[in-house]
């Protein structure tokens, strides 16, 4: 599996670290325990196309949003996401 980093070109997946599904969004601080339980622990665990966050630690150290098929490992798109962590909180 090679990930085409928009800054570094196609690189083997060993250069990247995986955060996981890009979908869960951190709830507002007062959203309550159930919302946080859902955010921290529950996953759709998609079999098929999924948007996920990867970190190019062995290269440009950018956060990337990768659209990938979890059944075939086919990669459809790779986009930079500046400040992915901050973005999670914002929305």
């Amino acid at each position: 599996m090679r990930i085409a980093c928009p800054f570094c070109g196609p690189r083997e997946n060993g250069e990247f670290s995986y955060l996981g599904d890009a979908k869960p969004k951190r709830p507002a601080p007062d959203a309550g325990q159930d919302a946080f339980y859902d955010y921290v622990y529950l996953r759709d665990n998609v079999a098929g196309e999924m948007e996920e966050l990867w970190y190019h630690g062995g290269g440009c150290r950018s956060w990337l949003k990768v659209r990938r098929n979890t059944v075939t490992h086919e990669i459809f798109s790779v986009e930079p996401v500046a400040g992915a962590g901050a973005q999670k909180v914002a929305s």
Binding site: E12, G20, D21, V40, R43, A47, E52, W54, T70
Partner: protein, 417 residues
């Protein structure tokens, strides 16, 4: 039939051409008391214990492929009970005891071989952690021995003791740990369950659940028609989220791929199971002579049953750091299996919020050794609607209650467990 030295001699005289089927190949009936989804080790063990301990014999095990075609046939066959935390330690020891009597219980040769599991330590801090683990095991009546370097040298003189970066200082040995023949475990449970009346139905994929007006599960829809059931148990690790989603459930689980490897056969070298404490590498030698080994999961969500090269490289580097003697051994095969990686690294055996639906999931990559215990505990839960003492902490709601069982202390990041 009952297997014995006499049945073997009889079959030998006729050139091994007249062995009867090991289990029947029945058509699915309309209705069962219990339907188990998933014909792996855990599902078959559950069916066996339902029939054997609880007298519930009107049971079907449904398998989408052939039995044992998932993780039961893809693991590195290690059995052990060297855990630390309450909740795990008693459960895995109960499982270990079931391994010790399995072959006579099932009347099947599962090639259970208690040749020892040795976890190596490479620093003072790691020795202290292993001493603590060993003491926890002993308090719970489990065998463990903390070895110094001389003790490890006696067992495995070929290791790279003087590695500049990770010198081997010693190891924690569980002499009763070892390996078992994974396929034979599946076949043994199938044989014994079938003999007690359990229907093992292969090539039968569950595609949905039937529910009554109150939402209670009343059966399953399958590729071979609708099958009614008083209770339904799910034991499909790797695909738990997909099957649970058919009943509207979301689980604290991600599916990840774990690779395993086997080398060409060589003369006897590795005495038991040996694990590298400075990386992630575990190895044993099969009776055919092949080195069976593995390491970390690949680290990204996958249902593909195959992994990628960076982990192959990492595992082989771990092997070379530990035992350079294997450097010229050729790799024979490599494959992948899909793990239910739970949010604390421990399994789930519990009722679900859906009436009549029971869940056995989240085994991460420790499911094989748990096979007999998992079946025993899950059967108890399904038959009596109460938790077995040894599985009482494997609750589905433990994440909500903050009662995690996190052996590695990694938190809710499944690819790190």
């Amino acid at each position: 039939m009952k297997y014995s030295i006499f049945s073997l001699a009889r079959a030998a005289l006729s050139g091994h051409k007249n062995w009867p089927r090991t289990w029947r190949d029945p058509e699915p009936q309309k209705q069962y008391d219990v339907v188990i989804v998933g014909g792996g080790g855990h599902g078959l063990a559950t069916a066996y214990h339902l029939a054997h301990e609880h007298g519930i014999r009107n049971v079907a095990v449904l398998e989408k492929g052939w039995i044992g075609s998932g993780n039961a046939g893809r693991n590195t066959t290690i059995i052990r009970s060297n855990y630390l935390l309450p909740g795990n330690i008693g459960f895995y020891e109960m499982s270990m005891k079931l391994w010790e009597t399995m072959e006579s219980d099932l009347n099947y040769n599962a090639m259970v071989s208690q040749r020892g599991v040795l976890n190596l330590y490479h620093s003072d801090a790691q020795r202290d952690a292993y001493a603590r683990r060993g003491n926890a095991m002993r308090i719970n009546g489990i065998d463990s021995e903390l070895l110094d370097q001389a003790g490890v040298r006696k067992l495995a003189p070929f290791l790279n003791f003087d590695n500049a970066r990770f010198p081997i200082q010693g190891g924690l040995l569980q002499p009763r740990g070892g390996t078992a023949r994974h396929d034979a475990v599946v076949w043994g449970y199938a044989h014994a369950a079938d003999k007690l009346g359990v229907d093992i139905i292969q090539n039968c994929e569950v595609t949905g659940f039937t529910r009554d007006a109150n939402g209670k599960v009343t059966g399953v829809e399958t590729s071979r028609g609708t099958i009614g059931a008083g209770k339904v148990g799910i034991a499909v690790a790797g695909n738990s989220s997909r099957v649970a989603a058919m009943a509207g459930l979301r689980l604290p689980i991600e599916s990840h791929v774990l690779q395993a490897f086997v080398s060409e056969g060589i003369k006897p070298l590795i005495p038991g199971v040996i694990t590298f404490g400075a990386g992630h590498f575990y190895v044993s030698q099969s009776d055919k002579g092949g080195l069976v080994f593995g390491g970390d999961i690949d680290g990204y969500n996958s249902y593909a049953q195959r992994g990628n090269l960076p982990v192959v490289e990492d595992v082989c580097e771990g092997g070379m750091a530990l035992m350079p003697v294997i450097g010229r051994v050729r790799l024979l095969r490599q494959w992948g299996g899909i793990m239910d990686m739970s949010m604390d690294g421990s399994p789930i055996i519990d009722k679900t919020p859906v009436d009549g639906l029971y869940l056995n999931a989240g085994w991460c990559y420790g499911g094989f050794k748990a096979t007999p215990g998992s079946g025993f505990v899950f059967a108890h839960l399904i038959a009596r609607d109460e938790l077995h003492r040894e599985g009482a902490r494997f609750r589905l709601d433990r994440f909500q209650r903050g009662a995690m069982i996190d052996e590695k202390g990694q938190g809710a990041q499944p690819n790190l467990h």
